[in-house]
């Protein structure tokens, strides 16, 4: 299975690539060349930086190429900022639009007595019949590190709670995202990445 990993210069890709490689995937990285996106079997959009870095996806023409790949039915996984990019935008970079595949804006955790960023292992409340989270039990722990979060909606595959409920994973058809880092979430994370790699594009989903 070949996975196209999008490099938009927002942090380190090593961990994501290492985990996918560990699970038997062949990795192709692109930082602007559209050919690997046009012929992609799977696309992963990682991200551990600032939402404004996604501007590079627009500047390089990768945004329309990704949109076209999604329309062809290519399974897509956004991680952390890569998931947030699937929404309309983020308060972290108000002028920078996201893909808008899911409705709503990403917002910062409310200031209060709790610490922001939200860093560490928190548990998942799985919400729908998610294919990405198949085999993940209620309450399994995954690793988060973020200050902005996506709203809970009908597309939310799992919610977590820190200060307020937020979308920990999102899924609709072939488009998926995790706010947490599956590549850093031990066996639970590897199970989720394995589900993504095993995704059957011929199976219809609603």
């Amino acid at each position: 299975m070949r996975v196209t990993v999008i490099d938009y210069k927002a942090g380190n890709l090593t961990s994501v690539i290492k985990a996918l490689h560990h699970l038997g995937a062949e990795i192709e990285v692109t930082d602007g060349n559209l050919h690997p996106i046009d012929r992609a079997e799977r696309i992963v959009l990682p991200g551990v930086g600032h939402f404004s870095a996604t501007q590079r996806l627009d500047a390089t023409g990768m945004t329309p190429a990704i949109r076209a790949a999604i329309a062809r039915g290519v399974p897509f996984l956004g991680i952390c900022v890569g998931m947030q990019w699937l929404y309309a935008g983020s308060a972290e970079a108000p002028g920078q639009p996201g893909l808008g595949h899911f409705g709503g804006q990403c917002t910062r955790f409310s200031e209060g007595s709790e610490k922001v960023p939200h860093v560490g292992w928190n548990s998942l409340e799985t919400r729908t019949n998610s294919r990405l989270l198949a085999g993940v039990e209620q309450g399994e722990y995954v690793y988060f590190t973020h200050s902005y979060k996506a709203p809970v909606s009908e597309a939310t595959a799992a919610a977590s709670h820190y200060i307020e409920p937020f979308a920990a994973a999102v899924e609709r058809g072939n488009v998926m995202g995790t706010q947490f880092h599956p590549e850093k979430s031990g066996e639970t994370g590897l199970k989720i990445l394995r589900n993504f790699l095993a995704w059957d594009t011929k199976r219809s989903s609603c």
Binding site: T14, P117, W121, G139, Y141, H161, Y162, P165, K184
Partner: protein
């Protein structure tokens, strides 16, 4: 029961490996070093036994040792799927970049950040704030009317004072974009008599970023104390895991019985 009651951010137990010339070592105050195994093997074992994170601190200072370190990081990261921090000897953005490329998720910087605080911003810009851990070694000031709040920051394993006070430096590190603070109490380190909870609480309350407590762990009660009284978000456990004395899992099971939220099963 709503999920608000069942889901909660857990307290992290972080296994720390001191590495010298590519081997895990254990010694009191870095003296009388005893070989404690291969870093990749030890890190994998700690992760399997329930550690929430792995920190590798390189105590080799030589140039040759740096090359060995990158190889060690690469081998350690290969099969490690929990967060992995590397510290020791990182003096520049280039040093950090090499460590990230070798597979680290975060770097821990200490004396280099004190010498050039802009390094925190520089690494954060390229790799994200979550990737920058600022390590602070602090010792109480017994001459002060407030020895905890006025604790001094030291470098070189506590030998060299910097003239900075712990709260002020922690706040500056946060303002410059540090993702976490790794706070070591020089007073408690190596004693196994418990963390310095007062010091940890003062720093943790002064910043919004997570504080990892280090130095003094000897018993499960010490961990309970530093998470409650010390308001720590995570705690470093080094010596208590060595030579199979205890595992993160058994530590966390005991913490859970005492009401501390931890990642279990793990």
């Amino acid at each position: 029961m709503g999920y608000e009651e069942v889901v909660m951010l857990t307290k992290r137990i972080i296994a720390c490996l001191d590495v010298h010339d590519g081997r895990v070592v254990k010694g009191v105050q870095f003296i009388d070093l005893v070989d404690a195994g291969d870093p990749a093997t030890q890190a994998g074992r700690h992760a399997r036994e329930g550690a929430d994170e792995i920190v590798l601190l390189d105590i080799t200072a030589t140039h040759e040792g740096r090359k060995t370190l990158l190889d060690t990081v690469r081998r350690t990261a290969r099969e490690l799927f929990v967060p992995f921090t590397v510290g020791g000897g990182i003096r520049s953005s280039r040093d950090a970049e090499q460590v990230f490329e070798a597979g680290a998720d975060k770097v821990s910087i200490n004396s280099a950040a004190l010498a050039d605080p802009a390094l925190i911003e520089a690494i954060g810009r390229s790799f994200g704030a979550q990737a920058v851990v600022v390590a602070i070694d602090a010792r109480r000031d017994p001459t002060s009317s407030d020895p905890v709040r006025d604790a001094h920051v030291f470098v070189q394993g506590g030998r060299k004072p910097t003239g900075r006070k712990v709260v002020e430096w922690a706040r500056e590190a946060e303002a410059r974009g540090a993702g976490e603070i790794l706070l070591t109490s020089m007073d408690a380190d190596g004693t196994r008599a418990g963390f310095d909870c007062e010091l940890t609480a003062v720093v943790s309350e002064a910043v919004k970023i997570p504080v990892i407590a280090s130095g003094g762990a000897g018993t499960v009660t010490h961990f309970c104390d530093v998470f409650s009284r010390g308001k720590a978000d995570a705690a470093l456990a080094a010596s208590i895991f060595h030579f199979g004395v205890s595992s993160a899992r058994s530590l966390k099971e005991q913490l859970a019985s005492a009401g501390v939220p931890v990642r279990l099963p793990c």
